[in-house]
């Protein structure tokens, strides 16, 4: 018995010679929100399909909720909710009818189904349109109906494939809030996305995918340290002897890199937040500190930097 919700070992999937996923080792703990990040075609969806038993792995092992999705797909699918990329519904049926079909496929009684449908629709604020045909729904409403659809089976794990794609910023915010609430209820979640800054807000840990391999894994701060050197960037504006300030900042413990951006503006990359030390260092070097600012790294920076580096390495 492992207490991991998802565990894969050397998971590999090949499609006629093309390797979609290569030697993936992924582990997701209970209650965690894990983000699978990477460009389109990096193998995220294939990984998800293998987790659900909808595609058989070429080699390697998968455990989901301590079950084997290839051999026990019914138990896995009974406890795992899946929101596919650009989720589709039967347009000619109402929201209620669409959800009722799913409830029946899950073997729920009519009474239990009705109760759960009411509850799920309330959660995603679609109760007023319960008897409206889904054909009339907007993209955002469909996405929320997709979440209701997943909630019907009261899952222990929810897997979402590109859940924020095609939503306007306001809908994205609402959607992420909903994920946050679900996380608060202890539901484990796996999100796949290529829209990093959106996912960053809700993910505890992320894994960066590239050509079927998970090339980086960890919290956003950890990744920043790995890829960018420093997880924090401190911006200082100070008047005074540039050379002396530069030197003093560089020799500061914890500082990784110092750059002078403009005449009086310095950027310090640091492993942790050393704003206070930086301020006293500048003053100590006879500088007049005018402004002090810190910026934590965003996933976008990490992503851009990482793929830039890899690109360069390949070109040379």
């Amino acid at each position: 018995m492992s207490n991991l919700v998802i565990e894969t070992r050397d998971l590999t999937k090949k499609y006629d010679g093309f390797v979609a996923v290569k030697g993936l080792n992924l582990s997701v703990k209970p209650g965690e929100v894990f983000g699978l990040l990477g460009p389109n075609g990096a193998g995220k969806t294939t990984t998800i399909l293998m987790l659900l038993g909808l595609t058989e792995p070429t080699s390697g092992s998968v455990r989901v909720l301590d079950l084997d999705p290839a051999r026990q797909p019914l138990s896995v699918k009974a406890h795992v909710g899946y929101l596919p990329e650009q989720v589709g519904f039967y347009d000619e049926l109402t929201a209620y009818e669409n959800l009722l079909y799913i409830a029946k496929l899950n073997g729920l009684s009519r009474q239990e189904a009705n109760r759960r449908i009411d509850e799920a629709l309330q959660r995603v604020q679609l109760t007023p349109v319960v008897n409206q045909r889904v054909g009339t729904f907007s993209r955002g409403m469909r996405q929320r109906l997709g979440v209701a659809d997943v909630l019907i089976k009261q899952p222990q794990l929810i897997i979402m494939d590109e859940p924020t794609q095609g939503l306007d910023p306001e809908r994205v915010r609402e959607f992420l809030e909903l994920i946050h609430v679900l996380k608060g209820e202890g539901i484990t979640m796996l999100l796949s996305s290529h829209l990093l800054h959106q996912v960053q807000v809700v993910c505890d840990r992320v894994g960066l995918f590239r050509r079927g391999q998970m090339v980086l894994e960890g919290t956003v701060v950890e990744l920043a340290r790995q890829v960018l050197g420093g997880a924090y960037r401190i911006y200082l504006e100070a008047e005074g002897p540039a050379n002396a300030i530069n030197k003093a900042l560089t020799s500061m413990p914890g500082a990784v890199n110092v750059r002078q951006l403009e005449n009086n503006v310095y950027e310090v990359e640091a492993e942790h937040d050393i704003r206070a030390e930086a301020a006293s260092t500048v003053v100590g070097a006879k500088g007049r500190l005018l402004k002090l600012d810190v910026k934590t790294q965003s996933l976008d920076d990490i992503y851009a930097k990482y793929f830039e580096e890899v690109g360069h390495a390949k070109a040379s």
Binding site: T46, S75, V80, P84, V87, G88, Y90, L105, G146
Partner: protein, 328 residues
């Protein structure tokens, strides 16, 4: 050792029944069929056909009431210019309805992006495909049974005679043959709906196969017969071999099987569907009707052929669907 074997088996076997959720799929698909605009159009078409042909047949039959012991069966087979008989209409309405019910069964789910969502529920693909097929077959049965009852109503009303038990039995068998004839086209359209991503392509392919069997297959069969067993010396044996080959080839078409089943069931006087030698007719009372059991015996191969073709085509679609990657 047996314990290990058991453990191994449980490791290899898929958990649970492949038919979990089957009836949920059947119920949903049937509800879809029965409420769809497509079905309404077909229903109007078939009711018009039934009413039109029966009216035509009745005008003809009223003159001969009392002379024919199988008057009700004549309702199906009597043509009144310019309309063909009801069975003639069925010959192309049945494939049309069946194809219309199934040509977008699987690719429709793909295009609406509902397939991955449905298959993420605790069911196997088996249940989805069989559920769709059964829903189609039940819908066909429902429609044809309704038409069958309608014909009876109109017949009793127009002719003023109740049908005999023998006639009811014969037309019931005819109903079964019709449903499985529909089953073939249903399964065929379903295979194409798995193979082609575009519903229009699947529909066209199904109709192409139907056209091939309706228009070109007879020509092809006689052409093949001529090539495979030519008549060189004009011997009786040669002619016999050639005729048998021709009958065999044409029976590879579902249309022939259905036409023969129809012929034997609705015309009680038909005693053979192949060649009959004068020697075999010795002692037979010409024109005397066969009892129902003998007619059924006569078309038993045709009937099993129709059912077998339905099952084979479904199995083919099933195999293709199991192997298909579901990622959209």
């Amino acid at each position: 050792m047996p314990k290990r074997a058991e453990a191994l088996r449980s490791q290899q076997a898929r958990e649970g029944s492949p038919w979990t959720g089957l009836w949920a799929v059947v119920a949903k698909e049937m509800a879809d069929h029965l409420t769809s605009a497509r079905m309404r159009i077909l229903e109007v078409l078939i009711v018009l056909t039934a009413a039109g042909t029966v009216y035509g047949a009745m005008k003809n039959l009223k003159e001969t009431v009392g002379q024919d012991p199988f008057l009700f069966l004549k309702l199906y087979t009597t043509a009144q210019e310019p309309l063909p008989a009801f069975v003639g209409f069925l010959g192309f309405l049945v494939p049309l309805i069946s194809i219309a019910l199934a040509f977008d069964a699987v690719n429709g789910e793909f295009n609406r992006r509902t397939l991955s969502r449905v298959l993420a529920q605790p069911i196997y693909r088996d249940a989805l495909l069989l559920g769709k097929f059964l829903a189609g077959l039940f819908t066909l049965s429902l429609v044809f049974t309704a038409i069958w009852l309608l014909l009876y109503g109109l017949g009793i009303f127009g002719l003023g005679l109740p049908p005999s038990a023998e006639e009811v039995g014969r037309s019931l068998w005819f109903l079964v043959a019709t449903i499985f004839y529909g089953g073939i086209w249903l399964a065929l359209a379903m295979v194409f709906s798995v193979v082609f991503r575009q519903p229009a392509t699947a529909a066209l392919a199904s109709i192409a196969v139907w056209l091939f069997y309706t228009v070109f297959y007879e020509i092809l069969a006689s052409l093949l017969t001529g090539i495979l067993s030519p008549i060189r010396y004009g011997l009786t044996e040669e002619i016999l071999v050639q005729t048998n080959l021709n009958i065999f080839l044409s029976r590879l078409s579902p249309n022939t099987l259905y036409a023969e089943a129809m012929l034997a069931l609705l015309h009680p006087t038909i005693r053979s569907l192949g060649l009959v030698m004068p020697i075999q007719m010795q002692g037979a009372v010409l024109g005397a009707p066969l009892p129902l059991s003998q007619s059924v015996l006569l078309i038993w191969p045709q009937l099993t052929g129709l059912i077998a073709a339905t099952i084979l085509l479904f199995a083919l679609g099933y195999m293709l669907f199991q192997r298909q990657e579901i990622r959209a």
